[in-house]
């Protein structure tokens, strides 16, 4: 196996797949150590987390939420919520990417730039979709939400390169869409660090630069007149689970078409030394016919969080606008 292909399978998920695919080619001890690892959820009731000096269950560390599991379950799977390890192995051989098709417009060789999902380190997870339950799909959108999103798209159409303000927030280095809440994996650098102090939990996302500061002192949300890119988060503990309630979103950061009335409830539960089960429920009576819940598993990330400093070299936005002007000139 050459070095390049070796890197492709070095994630936990890749290791699991490799072992199950190659089977007897690997030492029996290695198979046992990986395959006997209990599924994260099985530990939930037995794992006793360490405590921070002020008594909080300890979630601290550098974690990755990388995942190749699609948000919505492929329709052909029906109500099947979990793959068997054997099925997961097949997907591994086929380069399973969930709903993350290779970037259609990327001019990169994905693996060379670390963008191939199989180069990421995944926590073990056999779910068929991040959305839990028999349906596994985002609930239908209300007519008012369909109209709202349609109007927004129609208004923006043809103007997306007018100027820097028309470019997406992530391209402008303001917020990274996947940093949430809900906090989801994206293409690369799916790393975050959790730090806890008396009265607060802080979560640093590697992409862009943001730190979520979540107060735990029971203070109310800010006034409804104040709207924030990432909403206003408040946390509390329910046993070993950190529950974070977020409201006060803007109407400029919709998540799957949500409105500024989006209400996100996240639940962080450390189920083992190497596992945090992250679950979130989205409720928006202006958007969906019912709330929906999804879950992913975070595992430890090696190395640390590296500085991203998005603005430092953000030539892309200027180059894109320059390209648009050149195209206009050509077509005139």
């Amino acid at each position: 196996m050459n070095r390049s292909s070796n890197r492709r399978v070095r994630g936990w998920f890749g290791v699991l797949i490799l072992i199950m695919t190659l089977g007897a080619a690997l030492p029996a001890a290695a198979q046992t150590s990986v395959l006997s690892k209990p599924a994260p959820a099985e530990n939930r009731d037995t794992w006793t987390p360490q405590r921070t000096p002020d008594g909080q269950p300890d979630l601290q560390g550098v974690w990755t939420n990388a995942s190749s599991i699609p948000m919505e379950r492929p329709k052909n799977l029906g109500a099947k919520e979990f793959y068997t390890p054997q099925e997961a192995a097949v997907f591994g051989k086929e380069g399973y990417r969930g709903d993350r098709a290779p970037l259609p417009e990327a001019h990169y060789d994905m693996s060379q730039f670390g963008i191939d999902p199989m180069q990421a380190k995944f926590a073990p997870n056999l779910r068929t979709s991040l959305i839990i339950g028999p349906d596994g799909r985002i609930p239908p959108m209300l007519p008012e939400a369909v109209k709202r999103n349609g109007d927004r798209a129609a208004k923006a159409k043809g103007h997306d390169f007018d100027g820097p303000e028309n470019r997406p927030l992530q391209e402008r280095c303001i917020v990274w869409a996947a940093e949430g809440p809900p906090m989801l994996p994206s293409t690369y650098n799916n790393n975050l660090e959790i730090v806890q102090g008396p009265g607060y939990v802080a979560i640093l996302s590697e992409m862009i630069h943001d730190v979520r500061l979540i107060p735990l002192d029971g203070r109310p949300h800010v006034s409804p007149d104040i709207r924030l890119w990432r909403g206003d988060s408040r946390g509390h503990w329910e046993g070993g689970t950190l529950v974070v309630d977020t409201t006060n979103f803007t109407d400029q950061t919709p998540f799957h078409g949500s409105s500024k009335n989006l209400h996100v409830i996240e639940r962080f539960t450390r189920t083992s030394k190497d596992t945090i089960v992250y679950e979130f429920t989205l409720d928006d009576s202006s958007t969906w016919v019912r709330p929906w819940t999804a879950q992913l598993v975070m595992g430890p990330a090696s190395g640390g969080i590296f500085e991203y400093a998005c603005h430092e070299g953000n030539y892309g936005i200027a180059n894109s606008l320059s390209a648009a002007r050149a195209e206009e000139k050509k077509s005139n």
Partner: protein, 139 residues
């Protein structure tokens, strides 16, 4: 404006529905109808986020030299692959297989970047001793 509806709406309308977005729209910046092959010596490496840039001096058929800027991946992702900013000394000769910018300037995105002996630039141990994001030993 005759621009196609591009990545601008990715955030506004579908957000993480297709979470495989990159930092910016490649198609907005580079032209897939302008494939380009460059061979030149590194004059500068900008190991900066959100994308690295490698500057190379390319000798033209008439003997003149043109400096090209080539976009690479996110330094953070590259670092985890074992590539550091010290991994590509000035003067190193590299080959770039990529696409030129839409505005016709001497910029390109590097689809494949290789050393002259065929080794891929960002994979294959360019940085001796650097550690990628290999799984930790289970304790």
């Amino acid at each position: 404006m005759k621009m196609k509806l591009g990545a601008a709406l990715a955030f506004l309308s579908i957000a993480a529905a297709a979470p495989a977005f990159a930092h910016h729209s490649f198609a907005a910046e580079f032209d897939d109808k302008k494939p380009i092959k460059l061979r030149g010596k590194v004059t500068k490496l900008e190991f900066i986020n959100p994308h690295s840039w490698i500057h190379i001096d390319v000798k033209n058929p008439d003997g003149t030299v043109t400096n090209w800027a080539v976009e690479g991946g996110s330094p953070n992702a590259l670092f985890r692959l074992g590539f550091t900013r010290d991994a590509l000394p000035i003067g190193t000769e590299i080959l770039v297989d990529g696409y030129q910018s839409k505005d016709g300037s001497n910029r390109a995105v590097g689809k494949d970047l290789t050393f002259t002996d065929g080794r891929r630039l960002f994979l294959g141990g360019s940085a001796p001793g650097a550690q990628g994001d290999a799984p930790e030993e289970k304790k």
